[in-house]
């Protein structure tokens, strides 16, 4: 889809959406948001970008293969659960602590995993469809 308006608008919009998606991901524990929604927002932003500039551009910017991103997400989610096992708790029990004075917990890692899975899976399908030759 070759449209100057779309391309120019996308440059700002996609960047904003990606930033917003991280914001949504991080605030999710106390306010509306979370990994799933954040992932969807990011995926929508990237989808917009791929419609405007084409899938090659997205691949260049993304750097990482979407399928791999999805798998890293699954590993992160499982890893967050295993943290509890190493800590002597039942699998997936939340582990909390302070890093540089900020309270963080294993659910955050879990949520990041969810985020990566959503972005990776959607992008894998979308880019494959866009790159398909007629």
């Amino acid at each position: 889809m070759d449209s100057l308006i779309l391309r120019v608008a996308t440059r700002i919009l996609a960047a904003l959406m990606l930033m917003f998606s991280v914001f949504v991901l991080l605030r999710g524990h106390n306010d509306p948001g979370g990994g799933f929604i954040g992932g969807l927002v990011a995926a929508t932003g990237i989808a917009l970008s791929s419609l405007a500039d084409g899938p090659e551009m997205v691949r260049r910017v993304l750097r990482i293969e979407p399928r791999l991103m999805a798998m890293i997400g699954v590993v992160a989610a499982v890893g967050a659960g295993l943290l509890a096992v190493f800590g002597g708790d039942v699998f997936l029990t939340g582990q909390w602590g302070y890093v540089l004075g900020v309270k963080v917990g294993s659910p955050l890692l879990f949520d990041i995993g969810v985020y990566l899975v959503v972005v990776g899976a959607v992008m894998a399908m979308l880019l494959a469809l866009e790159e398909e030759e007629d």
Binding site: D31, A47, V78, L92, A121, E132
Partner: protein, 781 residues
């Protein structure tokens, strides 16, 4: 010899030879247990799945020990034999590893003290046997034999599992020791079912009629496998189980009649078929079936003599049969032939092999002073004391033993001492050499053990036969074996056997022709029945595939939605819930902007149904979704609303990409066609059902227990105020993990489907279903 010869590395060779140490060490270990087991079983247990009564419990009693010794001692010689025999086979390292895995599984079967554990090891022996028969997997015959063995023994294994579970429930415990202590369960209501299921398991494994056919086919395996699994050990698992559960299941007419009939028929039929064979290995395979039939026949009885006969014969048979198999393998290896009509005069070139063959065959024929003679005497003693159909048992035993002697004479004499003129045509231009010592050591030593136990029967009875008989009988049995019993009925029967055996050997060629003619006249063999059974399974599979995997997306959607609609309506009407749903009498009191959203949703749905453009249909549908997202916003669910909105957006993008590649809706004529009316009816039906349910749900008061719980515990337990997200990542994180995995896999699967299509690599694409999708003039997405 099957399989191609390849150059091999030193490592593979080292693996083959080093593997001999494993059974040898285990054999020493089990031998050291003999004195302790004579007084009481050795037991050891670890917890595994305590809630289901499954423990890693082991028990070595007389019976288990006899089998463990057979497995490890014969195993030592087999691995020794295999180290030379398998030289040059492709992947002989893997072969050795699977053979070891089999040995450990088999040891598990005979020492497990838990019904479920027995089953697990039992299945492991089936699987390793499958892999070993299929060693030469490039050969279609080998593949078929491997599959057949797995289908038959695996199918029997399923019956066994059911039988074991029933037995465990009937006895109230899965511990074998406790079940054996509790004794017979013949009075329990489940006895009949338990008996049938366990017998199916045992009969398939031990190749009893009518499941006998897989065993001769399994001779496609390399000879070490035939000698080890399919004569000495794995096929004995079935009779082992019968012996193991003898105190629990035997003593009833059902047990006695079934085992007598099937064992007797199997024994005689197999010995007749053995006489017909000219392939050394096939001949031995049928005599193995005959031996297993004989053991079954005598496990039928509950008298001491019958049990003793069965137990002794297990030992006798394992010794001579593994030796003979290795002899057959050696002959095949050195002379490059194993057809009895091509072999002859090998005694001078292969003296040790010939000697081993003679010793083993004499034990097999039941001649004194071999242990085989004692075994045969015990068989006649047991037959004379049989409580059910004694004449039948005597005739069966006599016929089987006589034919066994005939086959034994054929095996010992024909290839080695007779037909000397054939020798120049064997091997490499008539040069046949004796095999390396590693190959003849096993047969010679095993046959000598058979001779030694015959000469010193007191040792055999005190250390082996006595404890085993007691274990099978369920109570201490005084056992003393003798070569000379005086002039009595068993001795007379033995003399008759010798005479008949000699006649059979003399008449072997006419008999072979006669049996072949008889078989030719038979309408179908068991093997044919197996083929027909497989064809039936395949036809059924194809039928199901055509009915459910037809390739029409519309058809799939129809099946799913119609099923849901039918289920909902059946519940609504069946439970009478429909009558309790309150019908609204007036329009709800909504704000104007809420009405606007309702109008947007309705308009979207109508446009989606009526439009002739795919793109418009998709956009209209996403309008419906966005409207619903707005409703979520109105009712205070921002998380759900955002999700819904994002999903709708992405769906439009994805579907638009797909739709651009599809042809437009085909509209061939005006008016609504039948298929559209049906689609419409289904949609309305499903929609109304959901609406009614929602109205019913919202009319009642909502149970707030769960929301209140999350509201209270969210901050305390999970340090978060957003209940929705806390549920997702903490309270129910396991669910989310499953969902995330599904999303990732769905992404991968979709990627694979798209890529396979666009690569244009048709070899990698699964063939399209052959069934045409039902004609639709207007496809919906």
């Amino acid at each position: 010899m099957a399989g191609e010869q390849i150059a091999e590395t030193g490592a593979v060779k080292a693996v083959r030879w080093a593997a001999v140490a494993v059974p040898a060490a285990l054999a020493v270990w089990f031998l050291s247990m003999i004195p302790a087991v004579e007084s009481a079983p050795i037991r050891a247990a670890w917890e595994w799945v305590p809630t289901m009564g499954v423990d890693l419990a082991f028990r070595v009693d007389g019976l288990g020990l006899l089998f463990a010794l057979l497995i490890t001692v014969i195993g030592t010689f087999i691995f020794l034999f295999s180290a030379s025999y398998m030289k040059g086979y492709p992947a002989s390292g893997r072969f050795t590893f699977i053979l070891l895995a089999f040995m450990l599984s088999m040891l598990g079967v005979v020492t497990a003290d838990n019904l479920i554990l027995i089953f697990i090891f039992w299945e492991l022996t089936s699987i390793t046997s499958f892999l070993l028969i299929g060693t030469d997997f490039k050969n279609p015959e080998g593949r078929r034999a491997a599959t057949q063995a797995l289908v038959v023994t695996g199918g029997g294994g399923l019956a066994l599992l059911a039988g074991m579970i029933l037995l465990g429930e009937a006895a109230g415990t899965y511990s074998l020791t406790e079940i054996l202590e509790a004794g017979s369960i013949a009075d329990h209501g489940l006895y009949g079912g338990i008996l049938v299921l366990i017998l199916i398991g045992a009969f398939t494994k031990s190749a009893q009629f009518p499941f006998h056919f897989w065993l001769p086919q399994a001779m496609a395996a390399p000879t070490p496998v035939s000698a080890y699994l399919h004569s000495a050990t794995m096929v004995k698992a079935g009779v082992f189980l019968l012996a193991r559960l003898h105190p629990v299941l035997s003593g009833t007419p059902e047990w006695e009649v079934t085992l007598t009939l099937f064992g007797g028929i199997t024994a005689v039929m197999a010995s007749v078929l053995a006489l017909r064979q000219t392939d050394l290995k096939k001949m031995l395979a049928y005599t193995t079936v005959m031996g297993l039939g004989t053991i079954t026949l005598f496990l039928a009885g509950s008298g001491e003599a019958a049990v003793m006969a069965a137990v002794t014969f297990i030992l006798v048979h394992a010794l001579y049969k593994s030796a003979l198999f290795m002899v057959a393998g050696t002959v095949d290896h050195e002379a490059h032939a194993r057809d009895i009509n091509r072999l002859g005069g090998l005694a001078r070139a292969m003296p040790f092999t010939a000697a081993a063959a003679a010793l083993a065959a004499l034990s097999m024929g039941g001649l004194p002073p071999f242990i085989g003679f004692i075994g045969k005497e015990l068989i006649y003693e047991g037959a004379l004391e049989a409580t059910f159909a004694a004449p039948f048992v005597i005739v069966m035993a006599l016929a089987a033993n006589a034919m066994m002697l005939g086959v034994g004479l054929i095996l010992a004499l024909d290839p080695f001492w007779l037909n000397r003129t054939r020798r120049p045509h064997l091997g490499h231009h008539g040069h046949v050499h004796e095999a390396p010592p590693s190959m003849w050591a096993g047969p010679v030593l095993l046959s000598l053990v058979g001779l030694g136990l015959g000469l010193f029967p007191a040792a055999a009875s005190k250390w082996l036969i006595g404890p085993v008989t007691s274990a099978v009988y369920g109570a201490p049995v005084p056992v003393s074996l003798y070569l000379w019993h005086g002039i009595n009925a068993p001795l007379m029967l033995s003399l008759l056997t010798f005479a008949l055996g000699a006649v059979i050997f003399w008449m072997r060629n006419p008999i072979r022709r006669g049996v072949a003619g008889m078989l030719w006249a038979m309408p179908a063999s068991a093997d044919d029945v197996y083929d027909a059974f497989l064809r039936g399974i395949h036809a059924m599979g194809r039928g199901f595939m055509h009915a459910f995997q037809h390739g029409s997306l519309v058809g799939y959607m129809w099946t799913l939605l119609a099923f849901i609609a039918a289920g909902l309506w059946a519940t609504l009407i069946g439970t009478g819930a429909l009558a309790n749903v309150p019908m609204p009498s007036e329009l709800p009191d909504l704000f104007l902007y809420e009405w606007a959203v309702v109008a947007l949703i309705g308009a979207g749905a109508i446009v989606a149904v009526l439009t002739e453009s795919r793109l418009l249909a998709i956009v209209a549908l996403s309008g419906v979704g966005s409207g619903i997202a707005l409703l979520y916003v109105f009712f205070g669910a921002p998380d759900v609303a955002t999700t819904q909105l994002m999903v709708e957006t992405l769906l439009v993008v994805l579907l638009a990409l797909i739709l651009l590649r599809l042809p437009g809706f085909r509209v061939t004529e005006k008016g609504w066609r039948r298929s559209e009316m049906l689609d419409g009816a289904l949609s309305v039906s499903l929609g109304v059902a959901i609406t009614v349910i929602l109205m019913g749900v919202t009319a009642g008061t909502l149970d707030m227990v769960i929301p209140d719980f999350y509201g209270e515990r969210s901050v305390i337990d999970a340090h978060g105020r957003n209940i929705v997200n806390v549920i997702l990542v903490d309270f129910r994180a396991l669910d989310t993990m499953g969902e995330v995995t599904v999303v990732a896999l769905a992404g991968l699967a979709a990627y694979a489907l798209i890529k396979l299509r666009s690569d244009g690599d048709h070899d990698r694409v699964a063939p399209a279903p052959t069934v045409k999708a039902p004609e639709k003039n207007r496809e919906t997405v």
